[in-house]
Symmetry: C2
Subunit: 286 residues, 2 copies
């Protein structure tokens, strides 16, 4: 069974011992409610040479806005632990909010430009919460490689920037999104979707597939590529936060035709907010 | 001679090797223009068990405001290196601004409440620059102990908070201010003072000494203790930023009589801004 550690000093000591013994630590930070997308990140860490794997499970209050789903976010620790054990994860780190943020806590890590738009605009304190907790986790674990899902594309770019700017000796990997057979991107929030909304949720993947077909047919105009996605999502969702074609590196909106296009989507089905994206480009996989 | 390292990867590799070889690294971050106050910090690191000492010399552009003295801040590298060598410092780390802040740099570390007042109010981006660069330096060096001067009292409290909040396994030490025989606190900026201003600068130490005498005589009212200092500084300096009696832990203003008082001073003599402070309390040294 995966070893469960809840105390930060114990985690630090364990990882330091492992590193001194020559281990290469692979790290996957999560908020639990694990699905196959998360477990693919663990596999990738091992594929990249990790000899010890650490998965953190921490529903981070700092990255939820006051009107968001922190309290109802799914917490399925026993099931998560079983999945980690089955996948050969060495350590599951599950700290309490009180140990992560002790009394008087007042330090934050912020990445600026890349967090300004999209999720940063619609969830103003979100990335600050993410970058603060991930910095703490990376410093406690000391991994050689940390793996993130590209479903949270802007988060992946942000954390890659953070590690570069702080000159941490950690390889940051962004793994392509894992999808259900019908195209729905795996997400812990999918379990909020009842039968009818589960069907309507497919509009995102369907719109992205249409954009992909247009791109393969030679279409390069960003507004045309994002337009088909927006139309598909508009028809099925209750509210759109954004559907935009952006530069995959800077996440700035594209002003003209481009061979490298990232389409970002965030939209609401009732109280459930879903995000997804697709990279259209030369080395992009649909 | 102290080894000079300018490349961050080389520094990281050197310190990692030293740690793996069992060294306990002591670290003193500076902006150069070294004086005996800095060198006392090195001695303290060794006294606290450091077996390897690292001094960084980096005039950090991020902690200077646009109208401050970044460009004219004294740069005396050869002299600094000679002093470090004479004091037995193992490594002098002197990176360039370009390697510290590579193109596209956009990550900052901020400590909130303790940085709000005093230096934080008069130099609005100062602490953010300090906390960002010190975080990068601490993560690159990986020391057991890092030593700071209490002349920059608010900075010491801020960095202590930062290390606690990020759960870094580093002991942060604040060393009492080293003074000239006549009481002037050692500062790299003292070399800006010409003969007449050098004399007027003594008003701070003289005011603090008067407050200390009052305290020893039983005075506990914060406005009385700060009042004698303010009067002394007002008589000699061109402009006061603040002279205040505050809580030594929180740095909040004291509302009533207290056995623990910190008097903070910042004032201008021409283009030179000096800061100083004195802790009046049971275990305080004048």
């Amino acid at each position: 069974m995966s070893m469960v550690i809840r105390d930060p000093r114990e985690l630090f000591a364990h990882c330091e011992r492992a590193r001194h013994g020559g281990a290469r630590i692979g790290f996957v930070p999560t908020m639990g409610a694990l699905h196959d997308g998360h477990l693919a990140l663990v596999d990738e860490a091992v594929r990249r040479g990790a000899t010890q794997s650490v998965v953190s499970i921490f529903v981070n209050p700092l990255q939820f806005g006051p009107s968001e789903d922190f309290s109802r976010y799914p917490r399925t620790f026993e099931d998560d632990l079983a999945r980690c054990t089955a996948r050969g994860v060495d350590v599951v780190y599950a700290p309490s909010p009180e140990t992560m943020y002790p009394p008087g806590f007042q330090t934050h890590v912020e990445v600026e430009r890349v967090t300004t738009r999209w999720e940063g605009a619609f969830r103003p304190t979100h990335f600050r919460g993410v970058t603060t907790v991930v910095t703490k986790l990376l410093l406690a674990v000391g991994p050689c490689v940390a793996v993130f899902g590209r479903k949270d594309y802007q988060q992946w770019r942000t954390l890659d920037r953070l590690v570069h700017d702080l000159a941490l000796p950690i390889e940051i990997v962004g793994m392509p999104t894992v999808r259900e057979p019908d195209g729905l991107a795996l997400s812990s929030r999918n379990r909020y979707l009842d039968g009818e909304r589960r069907v309507r949720a497919l509009a995102i993947a369907s719109g992205l597939r249409q954009a992909h077909d247009l791109y393969r047919g030679g279409e390069r105009a960003p507004e045309t590529l994002s337009g088909v996605v927006r139309a598909a999502v508009l028809a099925a969702f209750d509210r759109i936060d954004y559907v935009e074609a952006v530069d995959p590196e800077t996440l700035e909106p594209l002003s003209g035709a481009s061979d490298e296009v990232l389409i970002l989507v965030a939209a609401h089905l009732g109280a459930t907010r879903l995000i997804d994206n697709m990279h259209l480009g030369h080395d992009a996989r649909p």
